[in-house]
Symmetry: C3
C-alpha cells in the first residue's frame, strides 16, 4: 500500500526520472506518516500503438493506476484534496512534458494484505509507529496493536 | 474511465485488430453517452508460458480486466445486460478466432479520479454534456456541475 | 476468478517454477472447491530499475496482486486465515529464495463477470458443482442455479 502502476509509452522516462518520481510519490505518503516501504511504484512500458484513448491510438498518454490499501481517505474534502495533491506532485513528469494523463485510485481491503509474511498493524497503532521508524516489516505484540493515543471513551469531552 | 486492460498472447492482434476492437469498445460507452476520451484501452502481451488457467499453461487465453470509474451499473437487470453486451462486442476478436477468454469489471471510486488535472464533472451534468461534445477535459463552473435536467423535488408526480 | 498477477524481476522464475507455483495456487482454490479453470495466474516481468519500494529501486521484490470475484471471504477469522495460507503456499517461491514480497487481494463484483461468454452460476449451486466436475464453462438451466443444499427456511432448527 499504496501500489502505483504507471503505464507509459516506451522511452518516456530514464532511470533518473523514474527515481525522482518514485521519491516524490513516496514522500507524499511518508508525510502522513506511513512507513516508507509501504509505497511501491512500478513503471510499465506500453508498446507502440497498444494504447487507445477515445478509440484512437495515443502514444503520448500516461495512465496512473493506484491501489490504496492501508488507508481509506475519509470524506469529500480530503478526497478532493488528495487527488489534487497527486496532480501537483506528478505535474513535472506529465503536464510539463506535454503528455496526456489520467489518474485513478482504488481502495482495496486492509485485511487482505500482507508484507513479508506479516499482517500490517492497525492504523495509528504503536506497532505502525515503530514500522515507520524502522522502515521494515516485523512481527508485533498484541499490546503494540493498540492506538498510539488510546482513548476508551472517545467523545466531545475536553481532554 | 473505463480502463480496459487486455492481456493477450504475443502476436494475437495486429495494429488494425487493436484499433477495431478499441473503436467498438469506445462506441459502446459513447452510446451512453460518455465523453469518448474517457475510454482507455491498453493491450498487453503475455510472454509465452506465463499465463496459467486451472494450473495449466494456456497460450490461447485472453483476459479482459476492466475498471469502471464514472458510472456504477445500477441493478441486476442492467448489470447482466451490460456483461452480455460486452461479450457480443468482443466476440469477433475472441470466440470467433478460437480463443478462450474471461471478462471481469471492477467499479472504483468516482471521487478519486482526475483527467488532465481536471476532476471530471458529475454524471449527467451540464459540464459532462459539454465534455461529450468537445471530447476533451476542461475546467467547469459550479453552475455547470448541476444536472442537465434539474429537478429539486424528484418523486412520483407527473411532469 | 481469482486473477493472480505476479510482478517479478526478469529471470526470477523459469517455466517449471511458474508451473509449480500456478499449480499450488490453483490447488488452494480447488480445495474450496471451485472449478479449477476459474484460477488464472499471469506472470509479468518488471524491467530492471522500474520497481521502487520506499522510493528506492528494488530489483528483488515480487508483488502479488490478486482479484477475487467468485467469493467474498466472510469475516475476520477466515480473512486472516486466508492471507496467512497464501503466504505459506508462496513461501518456497519468495521467502525461501531471499526475495522481498507483498500480497494484496481485492474483491470485485460477482455480477460483472463472464467466462467463455457464460455468466458463472451462483456459489454452491448445482451448476457450479457440475462446473467443478467438468472443469469448463457451459450454459446452465434455471433449476441448476439453485443451491446444492436447498433449504427454504434456514434457521437454527435441527436437520
Amino acid at each position: 500500500m499504496p501500489l502505483w502502476k504507471i503505464y507509459h509509452p516506451a522511452g518516456t522516462y530514464n532511470a533518473e526520472d523514474k527515481k525522482l518520481l518514485a521519491e516524490k510519490i513516496t514522500g507524499l505518503y511518508a508525510s502522513i506518516p506511513l512507513p516508507k516501504f509501504y509505497v511501491v511504484v512500478i513503471f510499465e512500458e506500453m508498446a507502440r500503438d497498444s494504447c487507445f484513448v477515445g478509440g484512437e491510438p495515443n502514444n503520448n498518454f500516461i495512465r496512473f493506476k493506484v491501489d490504496h490499501i492501508a488507508r481509506t481517505l475519509p470524506g469529500p474534502v480530503i478526497r478532493e484534496w488528495w487527488i489534487r495533491k497527486i496532480d501537483e506532485i506528478i505535474a513535472s513528469h506529465v503536464k510539463e512534458r506535454g503528455y496526456d494523463w489520467e489518474v485513478s485510485i482504488d481502495e482495496t481491503p486492509f485485511d487482505l494484505w500482507s508484507l513479508q509474511g506479516e499482517i500490517p498493524p492497525p492504523f495509528e497503532s504503536v506497532a505502525e509507529k515503530r514500522w515507520v521508524e524502522e522502515n521494515r516489516a516485523s512481527s508485533s505484540t498484541a499490546a503494540e496493536k493498540l492506538p498510539v493515543r488510546l482513548t476508551l471513551t472517545p467523545g466531545l469531552a475536553e481532554r
